[in-house]
Amino acid sequence: MTERKKIIQVQHLKQYFSPGKPNEVRAVDDISFDIYEGETFGLVGESGSGKSTTGRSIIRLYNPTSGKILFEGQDISKIKNHSKDMLHFRRNMQMIFQDPYASLDPRMKVKDIIAEGLDVHGLVKNDQERDQRVKELLKVVGLNPDHVTRYPHEFSGGQRQRIGIARALAVDPKFIIADEPISALDVSIQAQVVNLMKDIQRKNNLTYLFIAHDLSMVKYISDRIAVMHHGQLMELGSADAVYNHPLHPYTKSLLSAVPLPDPEIERRRTRLPYDSSIENNTHDQRQLREIGDGHYVFCSEEEVDGYKEQMQK
């Protein structure tokens, strides 16, 4: 158990948009982390902090400005388009998108949406097999297999998200990036989708990168959590550690904002504002530093001790 296999290694990833131009956006600014096989890695942070960009870089929708991303030890930026490796990569890494309305082609039938991956990778031999597989997948995600001929708009948000999951599952991936898969859904549906994802993970031995801004759900589903802010990781650690013993002030602030369905707690709650200026007042280079066992905090050398103390409490 000590030597767990790393399925993803992100090393000093920088992803800038329009680099060098006046409108440069440093969406991701030097982050590093690993994701182990079989785990769920949660990535949280406020809107615009660069979560989606990180996910999209990993799945090679963008070419990194600098840094490296290794998938099963292979540098993904070195995979050539149209090569065998590329097909392999595309099959093994999949993505579930945030917006259940925008992520399904409104002019395609469900069966074609789900079968797209099957077709690309030649996973079925004939139409019959294809239909068979699509129906199986629909069953897996808990949809009525008779609905293969419907269009996406004929489904509710939760159902659409299931279709998106089925599409991702169709090619039997090892690793799935779920970019806020539940934040657009109703509360009652969120649980369905999360349960489904967990089920599938168990059955197929999947690894997830689970992106969300809702900390409570992330905590529920994730093994480890990274907190992102302004393109950088603020804190990284096991879900319990980050949630129950947050160290970085930003994490604390974020946690203090999560509404809980409990009037009493809400009445007593005080929000902790985050003052990002603390990031500026050291001479020392800030980076993720390990404070406790696998618990990292973005800080300068001199702050380490302070955090260590905090953790003891």
Partner: protein, 358 residues
């Protein structure tokens, strides 16, 4: 009931569509007291927006109000002329919409947009209106409001835009403020700020608020009373504590237990299976029955009436029928109730809070 500023009685609203008639609101009644916050929760499509839009008189053109009354200070809004409604809107009735990114006119400065209701209703000079707009913008926490009045919506962040929308809604000191999912499009940090802001404003202005959301966490933070809607009907209504700690309707149970808490780790989240019914052809009995693990024969046959739980708490479920077998709510609900009971006894000691301390 004289302190009710708003009473909705037996409201029924249909939509004529190509596919048929959508029975969006089915016999909805509730009231709102002065200065209180009523939260309406419910899943997407349950009729929350239609209900509030009918109060504002902003229903789509294909809507038909079958019957019902909406009494605003005793006056039936449904009987008022278009002109009278124009007078109410933006004046004593205000509304905040879900998406701050799209609710502001992208081509008009925010100063003008905030001053607009004043100009429409107040007949005050432009300068005065702008002055007042600036005050309100400061009130909702737009830094440097004076200079930013001349900016356009796209120059503000999502949270700021929602603040501006709120400023527009309160600029005329409305008596009722309807907020239709005002925080759904915002991320948690900003959402928290907006909720704080609304609470603050309510204290200052004594406005009655109808707050629509499907996020029970938000409800817990802001509401005095809660109405839970399902498939065009209100199925449970009560004070916020009653709904959160002693819910009676299985749908409310489902909602509450589908939110993960600290100890759901590992275990499956309990969820509500299935999807809401098609309002083109609502089921004969309880609309929730098909998804209800506690469904009984009668749920398939007849719609349940409201059963009174307490003076403030009503629920429409056959489970409350005296003849109905007593059922055990799901574990998380039971736990909530126990914790609450314990709280009541000990006089509200430490809550199992997480993250709220340093």
């Amino acid at each position: 009931m004289s302190d009710n500023i708003l009473e909705v009685k037996n409201l029924n609203i249909n939509f004529k569509t190509f596919a048929g008639t959508v029975q969006a609101i089915r016999d909805v009644s509730f009231n709102l007291k002065k200065g209180e916050t009523l939260a309406i929760v419910g899943e997407s499509g349950s009729g929350k927006s239609v209900t509030t839009r009918s109060i504002m008189g902003l229903l789509a053109s294909n809507a038909v109000i079958e019957h019902g009354e909406i009494l605003f200070k005793g006056q039936d809004l449904l009987k008022e002329s278009a002109k009278e409604m124009d007078h109410h809107r933006g004046n004593d009735l205000s509304m905040i919409f879900q998406d701050p990114m799209t609710s502001l006119d992208p081509t008009m400065t925010i100063g003008k947009q905030v001053a607009e209701p004043l100009r429409i209703h107040g007949k005050i000079s432009k300068e005065k209106a702008l002055k007042r707009a600036q005050e309100v913008l400061e009130l909702v926490g737009i830094p440097n409001a004076k200079n930013r009045m001349k900016d356009f919506p796209h120059q503000f962040s999502g949270g700021q835009r929602q603040r501006i929308v709120i400023a527009i809604a309160i600029v005329n000191y409305p008596e009722i403020l309807i907020a239709d999912e005002p925080t759904t499009a915002l991320d948690v940090t900003v959402q928290a700020q907006i909720i704080d802001l609304m609470r603050e404003l309510q204290e200052k202005l004594e406005t009655s608020i109808i707050f629509i959301t499907h996020d029970l966490g938000v409800v817990a933070g802001i509401a005095d009373r809660v109405a839970v809607m399902y498939a065009g009907k209100i199925i449970e209504v009560g004070t916020v504590d009653e709904i959160f700690y002693q819910p009676k309707h299985p749908y409310t149970w489902g909602l509450l237990s589908s939110m993960p808490t600290l100890d759901t780790k590992g275990a499956k989240l309990s969820s509500i299976p299935g999807t809401p019914p098609d309002l083109l052809d609502p089921p004969k009995g309880d609309a929730f029955a098909p998804r209800n693990p506690y469904a009984m024969q009668i749920d398939l046959e007849a719609q349940p009436p409201f059963f009174k739980v307490s003076d403030t708490h009503y629920a429409a479920t056959w489970l409350l029928h005296p003849d109905a077998p007593k059922v055990q709510p799901p574990a998380p609900i039971v736990k909530r109730a126990q914790e609450y009971a314990h709280l009541m006894q000990t006089g509200a000691v430490d809550t199992p809070s997480e993250g709220s301390q340093n």
